[in-house]
C-alpha cells in the first residue's frame, strides 16, 4: 500500500468551502453543544471570505451541515432579499451545489440573523443563528474567566439584578433583543439578537437550533424539544413586543412581528418583518397557489 492510495486526489476547492478537518472539528463541537444544551463550546473559527461580524459563525456551521440534497434559506432581519442574505445564499449555493429556496416550509437548512421565521419549523429542519456576542454574562461580568466560573456554578443572580435595575429605572424590562434565557433549566444563554417576540418560539420547539459566533469562536445549541425560559421575576410577566394589533400595509397580514416604516407626515406604517410570509400572504390574496404554513403566533397570541 502506498501513501498515494491513502490520500485523496488534489482538488482546487473542498466541498462546502471549509477543509475536511475544519468541518470535522465544527461537527464535533456541534455534537458537544447539543449534548449540553445552552453551554458555550469553544471552536476554532476559520477564515471565510466574509468579514468577522457579518455572520461568519453561522456560515461555518452552514458550510459544515450542508449537502447537495438540502434546500437552503438565508434570512437577514426577516428578509430573504437583503444584500447580506443574498450574498450568503449565493455563496452557499456556489460552494455546495445545494438548491436554494425562500420558502420556509421547503427549506432544510435555515441560516438567520436576528429573526426566527413566523411559520413553525419541523423536526427535519435546522435553524442556524448568527450570534455577535454569545456571552450573556458580559454586561454584568466583563472578566470572561470569572464569567465561565459563574456558568459552571449556575451563579446567575446578577442576570436578574440587571432586570431588577431596569425595572427600577424604567418601570419595565428594557431588554429588547438577546433576551437572556435559561436552557433546559441549567445554562443561561443569549438567544442572539432576536426580538423578545421570537424567544418563546424556541421553547420546546421541534427543530434544532445552533447558535454560532465566529468572532468570539464559540457555539451553543438548543436541541429539539428543550425548555427555553426567558428570565423573569415571579411577579413581572414576560412581555413580547406589542405588535399583535398591527397590520402589514402591503400584505394585510396581521398579528406578526412588524417593521416600522416612518412616513413623511410623521406617522408610520408597518410591514411584516418575515418577508417571505408577506409574499405568500399577497400570493394567496391574489389567488395564486401559495401555502402559508402553521404559524407560532395565531392572531397575535403565542399558542
Amino acid at each position: 500500500m502506498s501513501l498515494k492510495s491513502l490520500t485523496k486526489t488534489w482538488e482546487p476547492m473542498s466541498y462546502g468551502f471549509l477543509d475536511a478537518s475544519a468541518k470535522r472539528e465544527i461537527r464535533r463541537k456541534m455534537l458537544k453543544a447539543i449534548a449540553v444544551p445552552g453551554c458555550q463550546i469553544p471552536y476554532a473559527s476559520r477564515e471565510v471570505p466574509m468579514a468577522r461580524g457579518w455572520g461568519t459563525g453561522g456560515l461555518q456551521v452552514s458550510c459544515t451541515l450542508i449537502n447537495p440534497g438540502m434546500q437552503v434559506k438565508v434570512i437577514d432581519q426577516g428578509a430573504d432579499d437583503s444584500v447580506n442574505a443574498a450574498s450568503i445564499r449565493k455563496f452557499l449555493a456556489r460552494v455546495s451545489g445545494a438548491p436554494t429556496t425562500m420558502n420556509t416550509l421547503e427549506a432544510d437548512l435555515i441560516q438567520s440573523r436576528h429573526r426566527i421565521p413566523e411559520e413553525k419549523l419541523r423536526e427535519d429542519q435546522i435553524l442556524v443563528l448568527q450570534v455577535p456576542n454569545p456571552e450573556p454574562l458580559r454586561p454584568v461580568q466583563p472578566n470572561m474567566s470569572i464569567a465561565r466560573q459563574m456558568h459552571a456554578d449556575a451563579d446567575y443572580g446578577r442576570m436578574w439584578l440587571q432586570l431588577y435595575e431596569q425595572i427600577v429605572r424604567s418601570g419595565r424590562v428594557m431588554q429588547g433583543a438577546s433576551y437572556p434565557s435559561l436552557v433546559n433549566g441549567r445554562f443561561v444563554m443569549t438567544p442572539s439578537p432576536i426580538p423578545r417576540w421570537d424567544v418563546p418560539k424556541m421553547d420546546m420547539a421541534a427543530h434544532l437550533t445552533i447558535l454560532s459566533a465566529g468572532r468570539e469562536k464559540r457555539l451553543h445549541a438548543v436541541p429539539p424539544y428543550t425548555r427555553v425560559e426567558p428570565l423573569v421575576f415571579d411577579d413581572v410577566p414576560y412581555r413580547v413586543e406589542e405588535h399583535a394589533a398591527l397590520t402589514c400595509s402591503r400584505s394585510g397580514a396581521r398579528g406578526f412581528f412588524m417593521n416600522e416604516i416612518p412616513q413623511g407626515d410623521g406617522t408610520s406604517t408597518y410591514e411584516v418583518s418575515d418577508s417571505e410570509l408577506g409574499v405568500k400572504t399577497i400570493r394567496c390574496r391574489d389567488g395564486e397557489a401559495a401555502q402559508v404554513g402553521e404559524t407560532w403566533y395565531k392572531s397575535g397570541e403565542m399558542v
Binding site: D153, R158, L161, Y164, E165, I167, F233, D234
Partner: protein, 266 residues
C-alpha cells in the same frame, strides 16, 4: 418571711456558634496564621486586634470561606450545616456564604458592585439565595437599608456616587439582608472620619442589640473593639497572644505586646 434560695453557679450550656481550630495558612515562606483557634457563642461579639500583617484579616477571610487554609477545622452550629466547612465544595460554600455569613469589608470596592444601584446590591444577595419576586426583593432591600440607617431617598443611587460612610451602610445592609447567623466585619470604620465612624458604630451597636447578631470584628482600633465587643483576641505574627473579656484584657494586659498596644492608645 421569704426564703431566698441561691442557686449554685452553673456552667454555660449553650454550644458555641462558631468553632475554628488550629487554622494554619502560609503564603510561600510567610506564615500568616499559626494554629489560630477561636470560639464564638450565639449573640456574642468577638473582637480581633493586632497590628498590620498580624494575620487578623487572613483569619477573617478564612472564616468567610474566601481562603482555604493549609490546615485546621471550622464549623458552624447551625441546622443542616455539618462537618468541616473548609472541606465544602465551591457550590456549597457559595450558598453557605450567601445565606449564613454576612461580611463588611474595609474597602467597599471588595463588597459592592460599584456601578449597580445600592438597592440592587442588597437585592443581589437575595437573588443568589433564590428570591425571584420583584416586590419582595424591593421590600427586603428597603428594609435592610433602613435598618442600617441608609437614607432611603438615595437607595437607587450607585455606591460610586455615595460617601464612604454611606458605602459602608450599603455593605452592612447587604450583609444583614438575609439575617445571617454570623456577621464578619473587617475594619468597618477604618478610613472614615471620626464623626461618621461614631455614627456607623452606633448603627452596628443598635443592630447587635436589636437582633442579637453574632459578630466577629477585626480592627486595629482599640476604641472600636471596646465599644462593640464582649471578648477580644489579640494577634501578633499570626498567633493569638492573649484573649479574654474586653475589660480584663484592656485593663490588665498580661502579654508584653498587649501592654504596648494598650499603652500606645492611652
Amino acid at each position: 418571711m421569704t426564703v431566698v434560695t441561691l442557686n449554685a453557679p452553673q456552667f454555660v450550656d449553650t454550644k458555641p456558634l462558631l468553632t475554628a481550630r488550629n487554622v494554619c495558612k502560609s503564603y510561600g515562606d510567610v506564615r500568616a496564621l499559626r494554629d489560630v483557634s477561636a470560639v464564638v457563642y450565639p449573640g456574642e461579639v468577638l473582637g480581633i486586634v493586632g497590628e498590620s500583617g498580624s494575620g487578623k484579616s487572613t483569619f477573617l477571610r478564612c472564616l468567610n470561606l474566601e481562603e482555604v487554609p493549609d490546615a485546621g477545622s471550622y464549623s458552624l452550629d447551625l441546622p443542616d450545616v455539618q462537618g468541616n466547612l473548609f472541606d465544602l465544595d465551591r457550590y456549597a460554600r457559595r450558598m453557605l456564604c450567601a445565606t449564613q455569613i454576612g461580611i463588611v469589608y474595609q474597602n467597599p470596592h471588595l463588597g459592592l458592585l460599584m456601578n449597580h444601584s445600592s438597592s440592587g446590591n442588597v437585592a443581589e444577595r437575595l437573588l443568589v439565595a433564590g428570591e425571584r419576586s420583584f416586590d419582595v426583593l424591593r421590600d427586603k432591600a428597603r428594609d435592610a437599608l433602613d435598618a442600617s440607617e441608609f437614607p432611603l431617598e438615595r437607595m437607587d443611587a450607585p455606591p460610586s456616587e455615595l460617601s464612604g460612610g454611606m458605602q459602608q451602610r450599603v455593605q452592612l445592609a447587604k450583609a444583614i439582608a438575609l439575617e445571617p447567623a454570623l456577621l464578619l466585619l473587617d475594619e468597618p470604620t477604618t478610613g472614615l472620619d471620626v464623626s461618621v465612624q461614631a455614627l456607623v458604630l452606633d448603627t452596628l451597636k443598635r443592630l447587635q442589640q436589636e437582633r442579637q447578631i453574632t459578630m466577629v470584628i477585626v480592627s486595629h482600633d482599640l476604641g472600636v473593639i471596646q465599644t462593640l465587643s464582649d471578648r477580644v483576641m489579640v494577634m501578633r505574627h499570626g498567633q493569638v497572644v492573649e484573649q479574654g473579656l474586653v475589660d480584663q484584657v484592656f485593663q490588665d494586659p498580661q502579654h508584653s505586646y498587649t501592654q504596648q498596644l494598650v499603652h500606645a492608645k492611652l
